[in-house]
Amino acid sequence: MDIVKNANFYGSKYYKQYHFYKLLFLVYFELKKVDIDIKLPYSWYFFGDLPDAQTFEYMTGGSLGYYTPGQGMLPRIDQLPDLGIEEPTRKKIDDVVKNEYSKITANGRFRKDYGDILLKSTYDEAPFEFQRVFNRGLLQYVQKFKTEEGQSTLTVLRFDFTELSKIGRFLDELMVVYPEDEMPEIYDLFLRWEDTVRLTILEDHSKLIVVIENFWETFCGLLRIKKNENVLPHVVEQWEKEYFTTTLPDYEMKLKKLRKTLLHNHFEANPVGKNTRDTVDNVMKLARDLALETQEAKGA
């Protein structure tokens, strides 16, 4: 409520649900540093943190949507209710909230790029470097090639050499920082996706943005299961069930289909050379020997 009260002071018209969520997280994070734990239920998701509405309601008895209705105006809160918080604690909270607002305002108004500031500050606290490189690097970079309507599959869309090199450098970095120890379940999928992006660069630029966005969504589906705090266990279990039975298999199938088309187009235009042929023959022999070896070992 303290956050909303401050937001109203600056003008609710410019203050959206998205900004509230980022600020809520930043306040939570800063309060922890002064030993105040408000037990914000949140997970890492597509755009940084995302408070969990179900757990919030369970914990507070109130709806998260009351403070930030999806499209509507923020409620006006002029006077904070007396929640019995001791004065020193009250002051610490006020200071943290005001300090966070000071970072996104100037002369009593929201700064022009305050959304970006909030997102960047949130991502500074992200658990994985991979999130920063992907969301604040690659994703942010390719977003600017979308049309105003958000269309990302323009058939005429072509990236030039410099743009593709930049995308390539983001991919290089992502390969190095992928959190294999903590997200091993989709590591091979990530490797396959990375190569698929390289194939779209070679074969079909119109697919590039959507391929990047779709993987981010899939990655975040697992991320929220692994990186959340104070969320009710049954909510996380539900995410997990949905992810492994629907989200992940669906995505794997989509990627496989696209990859197959891209590979066929690629080899139609680039026939396999003798060197590669010889090496692939050796890979085939290796694979067959491994398969027959395990068969024999089992029979032995």
């Binding site: 290089d172 390969m175 190095v176 992928y178 590591y187 091979d188 490797l191 396959r192 990375e194 190569d195 390289r198 194939l199 197959k260 590979l263 066929h264 690629h266 080899f267 396999v272 060197n275 590669t276 042929r277 090496t279 692939v280 023959d281 050796n282 890979v283 085939m284 022999k285 290796l286 694979a287 067959r288 491994l290 398969a291 027959l292 395990t294 068969q295 089992k298 029979g299």
Partner: protein, 212 residues
């Protein structure tokens, strides 16, 4: 002999086809799977090759593809051929990596490009052949346990998995007469065929090498 024969395929025939190489195993596997005769396999062979958890074709293909991906990651992380060779020591594809390195003149871009290309061809060809198997080979689900035959076969065939394959072929023989069981393994089923045939609907057990 009828014009169109019925073949029941052991898993080693499918493996030889998916991981095709033009040699003593791959050529006859290709001849069998791409010929005009009717081909069948049972659930047991299907699981052995393509089962979600332990299917040999899928797990080995995934493992090899994963190692190629790790090879690229190693190059991106360390920018070093020596580190790539060191990392690859624990991989199944270490010999392949050495071969690619030897033909790349230590040029990292060319090395990356060759590794990607080899992986892509391997994946594409395995996928294409998997599709052909889906199209050319009928999957058969056996409903009966054939306990009496199982007990007889138990005394002849030591490996229970082989007994399941024989029973699957026998079951197909009820629907498609004169079924030939084809295997790449000269031991086990083939060696005991004279004892197997009198108790089953299998017309004959043939070796894959007969189809060169």
């Amino acid at each position: 002999m009828p014009d169109v024969l019925n073949y029941f395929l052991d898993s080693n025939v499918i493996i030889g086809y998916i991981f095709y190489q033009a040699d003593h195993w791959g050529v006859p596997a290709k001849n069998v799977i791409e010929n005009e005769h009717k081909k069948h396999y049972g659930v047991f062979v299907h699981e052995e090759c393509f089962g979600v958890q332990w299917g040999k074709c899928d797990t080995i293909e995934k493992r090899i593809n994963s190692e190629f991906g790790r090879a690229i990651t190693s190059l991106k992380r360390d920018h070093s051929v020596d580190m790539l060779l060191y990392d690859s020591e624990k991989w199944k594809i270490s010999g392949i990596i050495q071969q690619i390195v030897a033909s790349s003149n230590n040029d990292l871009n060319s090395l990356e490009s060759r590794i990607r290309n080899v992986q892509r061809v391997f994946e594409t060809e395995c996928d294409d052949r998997r599709e052909i198997i889906k199209k050319n080979v009928m999957r058969h689900t056996r409903r009966l346990p054939y306990r009496d035959i199982y007990q007889i076969l138990q005394k002849i065939i030591p490996d229970p998995d082989d007994i399941e394959v024989v029973l699957d072929a026998h079951d197909v023989g009820h629907h498609f007469p004169e079924i030939f069981l084809i295997t790449g393994d000269g031991r086990h089923i083939y060696r005991n065929k004279s004892s197997i045939l009198p108790h089953t609907k299998i017309k004959d057990v043939k070796l894959l090498s007969d189809y060169r």
